[in-house]
């Protein structure tokens, strides 16, 4: 019983971090119609960021988080400037390729700077388990869930309740109409990239304590975020969060019961099946097409 609870908690913590990645993924996809293939590598960059800042400042992870988020937002702006804006009038595939190139540069820059050995980021608060009688729960897992929840809710509030969020949503829905309404569309797209990178960076900082970070960490994350988005249905932020939690839970439970490889293989197989049978997502609506 205790193990099951701990397992579920770990799964939810992993899923919560995935949710941050998936949210950034959906933000950019909606704003630009293009997939940011560097999203996973931005998570990796956030992990290294946290590890590096921790070696400079002796403060808990929670205090580092705002620094990581700010630095990552700047990196997101750079990604938009290099990989999106020069190509915005070209087919979406051109942006796929340019973001793959960015990911390649990030990965190999990390390899050059830090070498292939895993690095760890500091825990959000500390690593002492919380105890109630026999029950001992990882405080790191709880802290990850709490931080991710704050960021997800903050994101939801920004999009639903603020003028900025309204402009972001308008841009995602119909770029030309938004421009006609006087919304600064390019600024909104740049902001989407910044938010996506910031969320990815936060996820990286949170994951890099328990799971460490290596230059190649990002590769698998892009697929997992995509799976979360596919499960949740396109364009739905809440769906992406639910999808991410499911992916995290599934991965943790199967990894504990069988193996990590089995968990990954099953996830990818599930992705293929979903794409074959229900490309609009498990909970999503069919997309319309204008002629």
């Amino acid at each position: 019983m205790v193990t099951v609870l701990q397992l579920a908690l770990n799964g939810l913590a992993l899923g919560a971090a995935y949710a941050l990645v998936a949210l950034g993924f959906v933000l950019v996809l909606n704003a630009t119609g293009a997939v940011n293939f560097a999203q996973g590598d931005l998570v990796m960059a956030g992990g290294y960021g946290a590890a590096v800042f921790a070696s400079l400042l002796a403060v808990p992870g929670l205090a580092l988080l705002p620094i990581v988020i700010a630095a990552m937002a700047l990196l997101g702006l750079a990604v938009a400037a290099l990989a999106y804006f020069p190509l915005m009038r070209r087919p979406a595939t051109a942006v796929f390729v340019s973001t793959i190139a960015i990911g390649l540069v990030l990965q190999n820059a990390a390899l050059a700077l830090f070498g292939p050995e895993p690095r760890a980021a500091p825990p959000v608060w500390n690593n002492d388990p919380l105890r109630w009688g026999e029950l001992a729960l990882s405080s790191q897992a709880l802290a990850v869930i709490a931080v991710a929840a704050v960021l997800v809710l903050g994101q939801g509030w920004l999009l639903a309740r603020t003028r900025l969020g309204r402009d972001l949503r308008a841009t995602a829905q119909d770029r030309e109409m938004a421009a006609a309404l006087g919304i600064r569309v390019n600024a909104m797209i740049a902001l989407s990239f910044m938010l996506a990178a910031a969320l990815a960076g936060a996820a990286g900082a949170l994951l890099a304590n328990q799971f460490f970070v290596t230059p190649t960490t990002g590769g698998a994350l892009i697929l997992k975020a995509y799976i979360a988005v596919v499960i949740g249905g396109w364009g739905s932020l809440a769906g992406a969060v639910v999808g991410a939690l499911l992916v995290g839970l599934f991965e943790t439970v199967v990894a504990a019961a069988v193996s990590y490889t089995a968990a990954s293989a099953l996830l990818y197989a599930a992705l293929l099946l979903i794409l074959l049978l229900r490309p609009q997502g498990l909970f999503g609506e069919a997309e319309g097409r204008r002629a």
């Binding site: 390729v97 190139a101 960015i102 190999n108």
Partner: protein, 596 residues
Amino acid sequence: MTLDAAPSSPRRGFGGDTILTIVILAGLGLYAGIFASPYGLRVLTLAGCQALLVLGYQFIFGHAGALSLAQGAFFGLGAYTTAILGAHYHWGFAVTFPLSILVPLAIAGAVAVATLRLASHYFALATLGLAQVALLVVVNAGDWTGGALGLTGVPGISLLGLTVSRGLPLTAVVWGVVALGVWLAWRLTRGLTGIAYAVLRSDPLAASAIGLAQSRLRFAAFLLSAGYAGAAGALQAHTIGVVSSETLEFSAMVTCLAMTVIGGSTRIPGALIGALLLTYLPEWLRFLEDRALLAYGVALLAMIIAAPEGIAGLIGRVLAPRPRASRLPTPASVPLQTAKSAPLEARSLRKSFGGVVALDGVDLVIEPGEILGLIGPNGSGKTTLANVISGLVAPDGGVMRLGSRNLRTLSAEQIARAGIARGFQTPALPPSLSVLELVALARASNAGTIGFLPSLRGRDAGRPRRRFEAEALDLLVRVGLSTDANEPCGALPARLAWRIELARALALDPVLVILDEPAAGLGEGEQAQLGTVLREIASRGIALLVIEHNMPFLIPTASRIMVLDQGRVISKGRPAEVLRDPAVIAAYLGLETIPA
């Protein structure tokens, strides 16, 4: 590819690309035969394997414009098929080589059936998922594959009792296969099929308007890319003698992508240049050590932004700054019409978008040879009706037939091939294609000679192509466009768009042509010409459905007029009768009479 919003169409005949390819291959032959050291030969052989891989990748990524991330996986599958069958079972090249091509082909076929239908990122991520599954399987099926350590003891190539020894013979065999691959790729893409792929990736709507079967074209490109990759993987396994799981890792895939983009993604010499450059670069730049991938990333980003047509495209621009305008052929008369003429009949067509009812039980009959004008206030459902009839939008309910043929079970491309051709309110004309190429392509599509099988038999190039162009020119003369036939569609003024769209529609031997506001923006003289051409077409027994706001144009042109309002037919009949109908006057609120 694709990376270019306005891809240039393949040039004809014995052009610069062919010469460049021959020069490269001859230069390599000279180098290999005279100058190369054993080590140099080995690097050259490996570059040949990569060239074959990239040639294949050009089909799906360059021509079809779809980002497949499984090319590295297909390469690995070919390599492992050869390695497992050769090292474990000692099977010979005559069996293992074909199987190394067939295994990736079969897997590509299974995955493609459903995913190729899907747009851009679905396909990219589905193929990435496939690649990850392949990697996991290989690493964990250690008994067969050697796991993460790899599989050693792959035998060399031996065929018909002859063993190909390492060094020059092996280099010659590998580059011989590359030359074969070059020939096949040239044969498949030199003609109108190559142009069809350019339309497919730059303007899908235009592609469906000329009846190109998009899924089938992309499916064929994906299979070819998998087959080439399998062959390349098999040859690399023979060359190195070892296969490791590294061949399946994402970095190998990205290297292939970088070779394709840097060399040039639709041109054959581009594949050779990209593969050679990125194979030799790490040899030349030893000081980079294992930073080669970092350099690839930077180069990939720089090329995709600054030179999406790749090095081969840049060379082409230097060698032939302007495409030669070919002489126009002599027009060959096309018999307009039409053994297959049949009435279009629709009953109770319904369509809603969310809560908005666009079509609310529309009945419609169009007889051969009549011009039906379709009018109605903005948002009354006119364009939706045109989209439903041409298969671009599926109706929620109702019946649609052309003669005895049920249209509701057909795709947009099948409807176009069944004889319903259309023009668009915003003309769907690929800007870089010449008018003649576009109409000739429509003609070839109508004759069923677009695709890799017909192009293998030469039915879309050479003399057959000249015949399609002669017929296309005849149609262009009929719509009054003959002198501009060699101009790119994008260079012609908007007032000529209806002529191009009409010629393209007529190229399909249509039963019914649908036009959406063809008179918009035309002067009175042009409107009169449009009317004359439409009546001439109708006199041949072709039916026309013309959506129009311009009543002074429509009233003398149309045989009947139908009025839509809020998705319903509120009036139909001869033009004069419809104009007097009180319901019509009420629909055009605020107008005492309809402007006539």
